[in-house]
């Protein structure tokens, strides 16, 4: 996990992948949950499709967010204002905010 945060601080999204069976492990873990072999952090496809979407008012201002499925890696991220369910999106940024929370930003991309 420490290495995952190391890359995330540099705005790089990496996921642990099993060295033996190539299973992607998300959230990151030191060992594969299928064959228990060691994993290593790798760059993965960061395009995916929006599964569901809504707007959060919890921080005062409206913020569109949704759950994005990137070839089986599901995570919740901020979306561009014109996003909709089923839209193909690309992760444009990721990192760690000052309050310690992780963020993932997505913009629409070509099919």
């Amino acid at each position: 996990m420490r290495r995952f945060y190391y890359f995330l601080r540099r705005h790089e999204f990496r996921v642990t992948v099993c060295k033996k069976c190539r299973q992607k492990i998300w959230p990151p873990s030191q060992n594969c949950f299928v064959c228990f072999s060691p994993t290593k952090l790798e760059k993965v496809v960061t395009t995916g499709f929006i599964k569901e979407i809504t707007t959060s008012y919890t921080k005062g201002t409206a913020k569109l967010y949704g759950i994005v499925d990137m070839q089986g890696i599901k995570l919740v991220g901020s979306l561009a204002p014109d996003a909709y369910v089923g839209l193909k999106v690309q992760m444009t940024d990721c990192g760690i905010r000052e309050n310690g929370s992780l963020f993932f930003n997505f913009d629409p991309c070509a099919e």
Binding site: K51, T55, Y57, T58, V76, R97, L102
Partner: protein
């Protein structure tokens, strides 16, 4: 339940039991000596092998499951804040139960359900209550910690390791342990309302569920809570007030959401034999279903209109109790958000898939008579215990102003962490 009838039946019919295991309502029997091979036990459909599985049904006269009953329960007033320490809060309902000296002497295990970061809680509570239990530990599984503790208590008693187990659930507002920080898949949207709102959007899109139907859930549960002196909210809310309440994450508004609060609840579970000596009509645990499908939001199903873990838990609980959903008279379900009650109607097979929204006004059984999480508040580790205490009270006919008339079978539905874990318990008065 007493094992003697099963043993006697087999001995009478020339079978010698050398080993048996009870899993749910099936008995796995290892037959050491098969004295009369030509004889077939009526329970077996085929010639017995060395290990046979016999489906008995928990209420069968031959059931080998040691019955577990709820013999006492108490819930303290849920409130926003308290000057008391977590452990003092936890002791509040226990004192009501332990005022009975006979009950106090019987307790041989104390299980503490909490998501607090404070350590060694079960032993601290035991000391504060003057108990010296043989077994004492804490159980934490986020929002369904309470029912997890009750399932553990059931296991201790049904296995014969304990005869009486005190389950205590307690939490205080503001405890950092109530937030699942491990789940980084939620990104900066870590509050539970964020995943719940996406479930609501999905259900609205797929089945046409409306904000008005969700508001009706809130109105109903706040009204029910007005008859519950232990509830956080004791004033009803109007339909208009819910719809006009501040939006949090649309379609969910502030009155679609339960509130974290400070509270505690306790239950005493006893073996069947002891229970019958303590009270005339004990409330029995008849069915248990529990399922965990991971911990992170990434593990929930693609279809956000249902909760897979709850469906499996419900199916298992009905099977163990040998009943179907039509037998249920009263339900306490996990309405942390109004949409979760609507989804639960479907997951618990109370209505057909997609009809949960309409079921809010068509439902003929009592759902969340204590006010649910929306009306009572949600002291995380205490919630599951308080739900079970309510159903036990209803089935005992002691719920006063909110008593559901003639109820005999009750169901508890308790979720954790975006529905990645779910517990369903079925209680009944006849054993």
């Amino acid at each position: 339940m007493d094992l003697m009838p099963l043993r006697d039946m087999f001995l009478k019919e020339c079978w010698t039991l050398s080993l048996y295991r009870v899993i749910r309502n099936s008995v796995y029997i290892h037959l050491k000596d098969f004295v009369r091979p030509e004889f077939r036990c009526p329970l077996f459909k085929s010639t017995p092998s060395r290990i046979q599985k016999v489906h008995l049904g928990i209420c069968s006269q031959h059931s080998a499951v040691r019955g577990v009953a709820i013999t006492a329960y108490a819930t303290a007033k849920f409130r926003r804040k308290s000057e008391l320490s977590l452990f003092e809060v936890a002791c509040e309902p226990c004192r009501d139960i332990l005022a009975n000296e006979a009950l106090r002497k019987q307790i041989d295990a104390v299980l503490f359900s909490s998501c607090s970061v404070e350590q060694y809680g079960s032993s601290i509570i035991s000391e504060m209550l003057g108990l010296n239990p043989r077994i004492s530990h804490r159980i934490d599984n986020m929002c369904n910690s309470g029912t997890n503790a009750i399932v553990s208590a059931f296991s201790y008693i049904s296995s014969g390791l304990c005869d009486s187990v005190l389950v205590v659930g307690a939490d205080k507002v503001g405890n950092p342990g109530q937030q699942l920080t491990w789940d980084i898949t939620r990104g900066e949207y870590g509050l539970p309302v964020h995943w719940a709102a996406m479930f609501a959007k999905a259900h609205m899109r797929k089945y046409g569920t409306t904000e008005e139907q969700m508001a009706t859930v809130s109105v109903k549960n706040h009204l029910n809570a007005s008859n519950n002196p232990s509830a956080l909210y004791t004033q009803p809310v109007t339909f208009e007030k819910v719809l006009k309440s501040d939006k949090v994450v649309p379609p969910l508004k502030i009155l679609d959401c339960s509130s974290l609060c400070t509270g505690s609840s306790a239950i005493l579970l006893s073996s069947g034999e002891k229970a019958k000596r303590i009270i005339e009509n004990p409330v029995w645990i008849k069915g248990i279903g529990q399922q965990t499908n991971g911990a992170s939001l990434s593990m929930v199903s693609d279809d956000l209109t249902s909760i897979d873990a709850a469906k499996k838990a419900a199916s298992d609980a009905y099977e163990m109790a040998s009943i179907d959903s039509e037998s249920v008279d009263v339900v306490e379900l996990h309405d942390a958000f109004t949409i979760l009650e609507i989804i639960a109607y479907e997951d618990l097979q109370l209505t057909r898939r997609g009809e949960g929204g309409k079921f809010v006004t068509q439902c003929e059984i009592s759902i969340n008579p204590r006010g649910g999480l929306l009306g009572c508040g949600h002291p995380v580790g205490a919630t599951g215990v308080a739900q079970v205490a309510e159903i036990a009270m209803q089935l005992s006919g002691k719920a006063d102003a909110r008593q559901v008339k003639g109820c005999k079978i009750g169901l508890i539905h308790n979720l954790a962490a975006a529905g990645t874990s779910a517990t369903v318990l079925i209680l009944g008065v006849d054993h």
